[in-house]
C-alpha cells in the first residue's frame, strides 16, 4: 500500500561465519581514553553479552558500532567487508540498529511515532499515520507488549513499557545486527522477563545477531551464547556462556575492585 522502507541487507556472513568483527578500535575524548584496542567478533545468529565496569567504555563501543560516533582508529568489518559507519542512518541502511541506554524516546510523541521515528511511512508529502498506527499495534501485540493505545504519548508509559517500546522499535527495524545497551535497566522482574523473551525470540529466528550490554550476570548467562568482558579499554575475557559462571564473572569484577581499592590506599597512604 505504501512505499516500504528499504530493508537491510540479507544476513550473509563473512567467510568464517562472523557477521561483524571489530579490529584494534580505539577512541579517546580529549584527555580521556575510552577504548584502547578493542578486538571483538560477532557470529551469525549469536547473542553476545558485553559486560564490564561502569565507565569501561561499553556504551562508547556500542555507539561506534551503530554509527553514532566514529572511532579514532581501527577497522570494522561487516559481512566480510570493511566499512566506515558515517552516521546512524548509514549504519541502519547496513542493517545495524541500537537501543540506547537513554532509550532515545521522545516524550511528546505518540508510541507509534516513536516506533517509526526517522523511518516514518510516508505518502509524500504526508505521513501515513493510519498505516503506522496499525503496524505498531500489530507489532506490539505480536511481541506481547500490552498497551491500551499506541496513540498515548510515551511520557505516560511506565519505565518498563518505555524500554519495551525502545526495544520494539529496534526489532521493528528488521535489523540483522541489534545492539542493546542495558535493555533490562529500570525494569521489574515481570518486565525484564518480557524483554528476555523478546531476545530469545530473536535468537530463535536465527538470522539476527545481537550484542547485549548488561549488569546482571545471571541474566547475561541465561540469554547469551558468549560473554565478552571489556576492561582497561580492551576485551580481556572471551568465553562461551557454558564455560563460565556467575561466580567467575563476579570474581573478576571483585578482583578489579580490590585492585582499585589498593591503588587508592597506596595513593592516599
Amino acid at each position: 500500500m505504501t512505499a516500504q522502507a528499504s530493508e537491510g541487507p540479507s544476513g550473509s556472513a563473512g567467510q568464517n561465519g562472523d557477521v561483524l568483527t571489530v579490529e584494534h578500535v580505539a577512541k579517546r575524548f580529549g584527555a580521556v581514553t575510552a577504548l584502547v584496542d578493542v578486538n571483538m567478533r560477532l557470529a551469525h545468529g549469536e547473542v553476545l553479552g558485553l559486560i564490564g565496569d561502569n565507565g569501561a567504555g561499553k556504551s562508547t563501543l556500542l555507539k561506534i558500532l551503530c554509527g553514532f560516533q566514529q572511532p579514532d582508529s581501527g577497522r570494522i568489518v561487516l559481512h566480510g567487508e570493511e566499512v566506515t559507519l558515517k552516521s546512524v542512518d548509514h549504519a541502519r541502511s547496513l542493517g545495524i540498529d541500537a537501543v540506547y541506554q537513554d532509550l532515545a524516546l521522545i516524550d511528546q510523541l505518540s508510541v507509534y511515532h516513536n516506533i517509526f521515528l526517522n523511518r516514518e511511512r510516508v505518502r509524500w508529502p504526508l505521513l501515513s499515520n493510519r498505516t503506522m498506527r496499525k503496524l505498531a499495534r500489530e507489532r506490539l501485540d505480536d511481541m506481547g507488549i500490552g498497551l491500551q493505545s499506541v496513540d498515548l504519548p510515551v511520557a505516560r508509559l511506565s519505565g518498563g513499557q518505555r524500554q519495551a517500546i525502545a526495544v520494539a522499535r529496534a526489532v521493528y527495524s528488521e535489523a540483522k545486527i541489534l545492539l542493546l545497551d542495558e535493555p533490562l535497566a529500570a525494569m521489574g522482574a515481570k518486565e525484564a522477563a518480557l524483554i528476555l523473551d523478546l531476545i530469545r525470540d530473536l535468537k530463535s529466528r536465527g538470522d539476527v545477531s545481537v550484542i547485549v550490554i548488561a549488569h546482571n550476570y545471571g541474566q547475561v548467562l541465561e540469554i547469551c551464547d558468549r560473554v565478552n568482558l571489556l576492561q582497561h579499554g580492551g576485551i580481556t575475557l572471551d568465553k562461551p556462556s557454558r564455560d563460565t559462571s556467575v561466580q567467575e564473572l563476579n570474581d573478576i569484577v571483585i578482583a578489579e575492585y580490590r585492585r582499585a581499592l589498593e591503588e587508592r590506599q597506596r595513593a592516599v597512604g
Binding site: A104, I106, D107, E120, R156
Partner: protein, 329 residues
C-alpha cells in the same frame, strides 16, 4: 451520533487552543456588542480590515517562531529582517534596476540568508539562539539606518501591481496569513519535517540517536522564520506605500512570541500548534483594536495587554494541570 458529538466536545475541552478560542470570542462579544462605542464601529468594514491588518503580521512571524520554539530555539531578529527587507527591495530596484519580481524574491532570499546565519552561529558555533539573534538583529538595524540615512523611501513604482496581491489590498494580508497558517499547520502535524521538529525539541539527544538530522531541522526553521520576517516587512511597506526606517524592530517579534506562547507553544520546546498561535495573535489583535475602538489611550493599553498575557498564561498552566489530572485517571 450524539456520542460522537460529546466526544468531539470533550476533545475540544482537552485542546489547549480551546481556552484561547473562548477568550477571543468573549473579547469580540464584549467589544462588538456590549461596549457602546464598539457597537457602532467594531463590525464596520474599515475596522475589520484594521483588525486583520494588526493580526496578520503577528500570525505570519509567529509561524516561524512556533517552529523554532518547538525545536528548542528562539529568533529575536525577524523584526529587523522585516525592517531591512523592503529597503533591500528599494535599493535593488531603484539603484540597480532589478525587475520588481526578482527584487521581491531576492528580499525573501535575504530573509532566508539571515536565518541561515542565525542557524550557523547557533548550531555550528554553539551560541544560544537568544544571543545569536540579538546580535544579528542589531546588525540589521544598524545596516538599515546606515544605508537609508534614517530616511524613509517610497515604494518603487514597478511594484505597485504585485504589491496589491502581497499587501496593499484590504484583505490580502489576512488571506496570506490564513493560507500560510493552514500550510504550516499541515507541515507541523502531518509531515516528517513537523514530526522531527517536535522530536528535536522534545529530546534533542534522543532525536539524534534515532538518526534525525538535528542541524537540518534547525537550519530550516531559522530560514523559514527569516523569510516570514522579510515577507511581513514587504507586506507592510506595500500596505503603507512607504518604507519606514522605524518599522519592525523588536515589537513584531515580541507580539509573535507572545501569540505563540498564549496559543500553547512551550518555551522549552517539544510542543506547540499553528492554530494556537493564530488564536493568540487574534487575541492580541482584538485587544489592540478593541481598545482603539473604545478610545483607550496607548499608555494604559500596555498595562492591560501585559496583564492579559499573564492571566492567559496562568489559566493555561492551571488548565494543563487539570487536563493532566483528567488524563491520568
Amino acid at each position: 451520533m450524539l456520542g460522537r458529538l460529546r466526544e468531539a466536545g470533550a476533545r475540544l475541552v482537552r485542546q489547549r487552543e480551546a481556552t484561547v478560542f473562548v477568550v477571543v470570542l468573549l473579547l469580540i462579544v464584549y467589544f462588538g456588542f456590549i461596549s457602546t462605542a464598539g457597537r457602532s464601529t467594531f463590525f464596520t468594514r474599515v475596522d475589520l480590515v484594521n483588525l486583520t491588518q494588526i493580526a496578520a503580521p503577528i500570525i505570519i512571524i509567529a509561524i516561524g517562531e512556533v517552529l523554532l520554539l518547538i525545536c528548542g530555539e528562539i529568533d529575536l531578529s525577524p523584526g529587523f529582517v522585516y525592517l531591512f527587507a523592503p529597503f533591500l527591495m528599494h535599493y535593488l530596484i531603484d539603484f540597480y534596476h532589478v525587475p520588481a519580481i526578482l527584487a521581491i524574491v531576492l528580499s525573501l532570499v535575504f530573509g532566508a540568508a539571515v536565518g541561515w546565519i542565525n542557524a550557523f552561529l547557533t548550531v555550528n558555533v554553539g551560541l544560544p539562539s537568544f544571543i545569536t539573534t540579538l546580535g544579528t538583529g542589531f546588525i540589521l538595524w544598524g545596516l538599515t539606518l546606515t544605508t537609508c540615512h534614517d530616511e524613509q523611501a517610497n515604494i518603487p513604482g514597478s511594484t505597485v501591481t504585485i504589491g496589491r496581491y502581497l499587501g496593499s489590498d484590504a484583505w490580502s494580508e489576512i488571506i496570506w496569513a490564513v493560507v500560510l497558517v493552514v500550510i504550516f499547520h499541515v507541515v507541523l502535524t502531518r509531515t516528517r519535517w513537523g514530526l522531527h521538529t517536535i522530536a528535536v525539541g522534545g529530546n534533542q539527544l534522543g532525536a539524534r540517536e534515532a538518526g534525525v538530522n538535528v542541524a537540518r531541522i534547525k537550519y530550516g526553521n531559522f530560514m523559514i522564520t527569516g523569510v516570514m520576517g522579510a515577507f511581513v516587512g514587504l507586506q507592510i511597506a506595500f500596505q503603507t506605500s512607504i518604507i519606514d526606517p522605524s518599522a519592525g524592530q523588536y515589537l513584531p517579534m515580541f507580539y509573535s512570541v507572545a501569540a505563540a506562547v498564549i496559543g500553547g507553544t512551550a518555551m522549552l520546546g517539544g510542543s506547540g500548534t499553528m492554530i494556537g498561535a493564530f488564536l493568540g495573535a487574534a487575541m492580541l489583535a482584538v485587544l489592540t483594536d478593541g481598545f482603539d475602538v473604545l478610545g483607550v489611550s496607548a499608555n494604559p493599553y500596555n498595562i492591560i495587554l501585559g496583564g492579559t498575557i499573564l492571566v492567559a498564561m496562568v489559566a493555561n498552566v492551571q488548565l494543563t494541570r487539570l487536563r493532566g489530572a483528567g488524563r491520568a485517571r
